[in-house]
């Protein structure tokens, strides 16, 4: 019965803590800046990782597609003015769809695409025209087989019926070829030697370790930066907390007050920091890679990192404020009043 008489509506707690931020505006700005810097650092590192990985993948993809095109050109001459038939045998890899696009950009006379597997929604490049499988080879300088599905059943003679030059290219090393008389077969994908495969795996592992290490370091910097600024802003208010205790505030109310205040500060600071860090990182990488940066980046992963650093910012700000606030509110009022921190 006594308990019900000491209470504070949440709306009052909100207005008190909101006012606290407003009145101590300069202090709040400093605290927000502290949180912002921490999160900006974390976010710039994370964004850098995403960009770096994206750019590396993109560059490898490009060079691989370029190599395939060169290989094709070595067999049949430049793409320009030729007629090319494409058999889309199952879903395409990124590399294959890029190759298809580059073929259409190469101004061939015609790009005929026959689709065997209809299961997937497909978008063909502008130049390409859909044809039935029986017509894919007519007048063609080359027929290219792409896709995930098994190529064992393909009859190469049928594919090259009516072709100018009976040649079938396969885009993957794992495609099996059922050889046919008078049909030239070519594999466009490079065969990667075993030691290179090992080296790549090793390199990827090292890269990952280095990435984790730098993220952990930046997380530590963030933790220390945010904790420091939040601790400062709470400890200088010990007397205020003591006064409130003397006026009959419950410890839980004081905690509530600081919970609201610090989560607001944390949210604002973390949001600003995440934006600033991302923009800064994009700008820094833009200087080296130019527009490649924006094409290569994995937006989904970036969004996840953005949300993650928001969460990290808010949680750190709240923890760093709540701990000293709890400590102060559990003190005897007389001690809190005397404290001169």
């Amino acid at each position: 019965m006594i308990k019900s008489q000491i209470k504070l509506p949440i709306s009052v707690a909100f207005s008190v803590s909101f006012q606290g931020i407003k009145v101590r505006f300069a202090r709040s700005v400093v605290t927000v800046t502290g949180v912002m810097l921490g999160i900006a650092f974390l976010m710039s590192i994370l964004t850098g990782q995403v960009i770096k990985r994206g750019v590396a993948q993109e560059e490898e993809l490009r060079s691989e597609v370029r190599r395939m095109l060169n290989f094709l050109a070595a067999e049949m001459g430049p793409v320009r003015g030729r007629t090319i038939g494409v058999v889309r045998n199952g879903p395409l890899s990124l590399q294959e769809s890029r190759l298809l696009r580059r073929l259409s950009e190469g101004q061939p006379e015609a790009l005929r695409v026959a689709v065997i597997d209809e299961s997937e929604n497909l978008r063909l490049p502008d130049k390409a025209e859909r044809v039935p499988l029986s017509e894919v080879g007519s007048n063609a300088n080359a027929v290219i087989v792409m896709g995930d599905a098994d190529t064992q059943a393909l009859d190469l003679r049928e594919l090259t019926a009516g072709a100018r030059y009976p040649m079938v290219c396969f885009t993957r090393q794992q495609h099996t070829i059922q050889p046919a008389e008078n049909v030239r077969t070519v594999k466009l994908e490079r065969e990667i030697p075993e030691d290179e495969v090992y080296r790549r795996i090793e390199q990827a592992g090292m890269e990952r370790t280095r990435g984790i290490w730098i993220v952990v370091i930046s997380l530590l910097v963030t933790v220390i930066g945010i904790t420091n600024s939040m601790l400062m802003s709470v400890t200088e208010r010990f007397r205020e907390i003591g006064t409130m205790k003397c006026l009959g505030a419950l410890s839980s109310f004081i905690r509530q007050l600081f919970l609201i205040e610090s989560s607001l500060i944390g949210l604002v600071g973390a949001f600003l920091g995440a934006v600033v860090g991302m923009v800064f990182s994009f700008f820094a990488y833009w200087l080296t890679y130019q527009w490649l940066v924006f094409q290569a980046v994995n937006v989904g992963l970036l969004a996840i990192f953005f949300v993650a650093s928001l969460v990290v910012g808010v949680i750190l700000a709240v923890l760093a404020a709540i701990y000293p606030a709890k400590f102060a509110s559990n003190m005897l009022p007389a001690h809190a009043l005397r404290s001169t921190i």
Partner: protein, 258 residues
Amino acid sequence: MSLDAAKLEALFTPPAVAERPCVIRAVDVKKIYKMGDLETHALRGATVDIYKGEYLSIMGPSGSGKTTLFNMIGGLSKPTSGKVYIDQVDVAQLDHMELAWLRCRKIGYIFQSYHLIQVMTCLENVILPMSFAGMESEEARDKGVFLLKLVGLGDRALHKPTELSGGQQQRVAIARALANSPEIVLADEPTANLDSITGEEIIELLYRLKDELGVTIISATHDLKMLQRSDRICWISDGRIEKMAQPSEIDFTSNEFH
């Protein structure tokens, strides 16, 4: 079975109430502050009874333990040994909820250095304890304005404490102490920073509270006028209570007061 009429009568008659119930009783309160190896005996066993509706002044040189005694009987600090009873309840037995209730409803504190919340306006400072007590915001605002008018600061309600003089800040603190109509007002040098006219007004105000509402006033003070108006004076020196006296028994012209 017949009942003894007299015994039955006695059963339903409330026990005779002592004429002056004891609001605060401190029994052999000791307080030791430890600073590393150094022990400071702020209180060396103070025993004092404070009765309901009395006006008690505590005086003593600085460092004599006034403020420590103050904190003990106000439930703001815990004694190293000894007991403090407020309304017959041992303060040490109360949980934090009940202590908060006590500080909120029962006792109004006035501090030597005001302890106003600097970032709030005067009115908000006065309203704060009422919000803690769960009062409706409109009612609290009206009461806050009324209290500020009572201490002569009706026109300064929306000023920040830093924009006011020391005396004005002290008056805001007094208004805040009265916010929840406490039964006990603990005042630590309430008139020390005031000019003599305002000081007298404050004394008059406290006196009226005591007279008309039966509020118990306990104040630490050196102010002669305040001492003269009080019911009892408690002398404290070096952590011990030296003597208790009525103002009439004391020669205010002696050297001790100048």
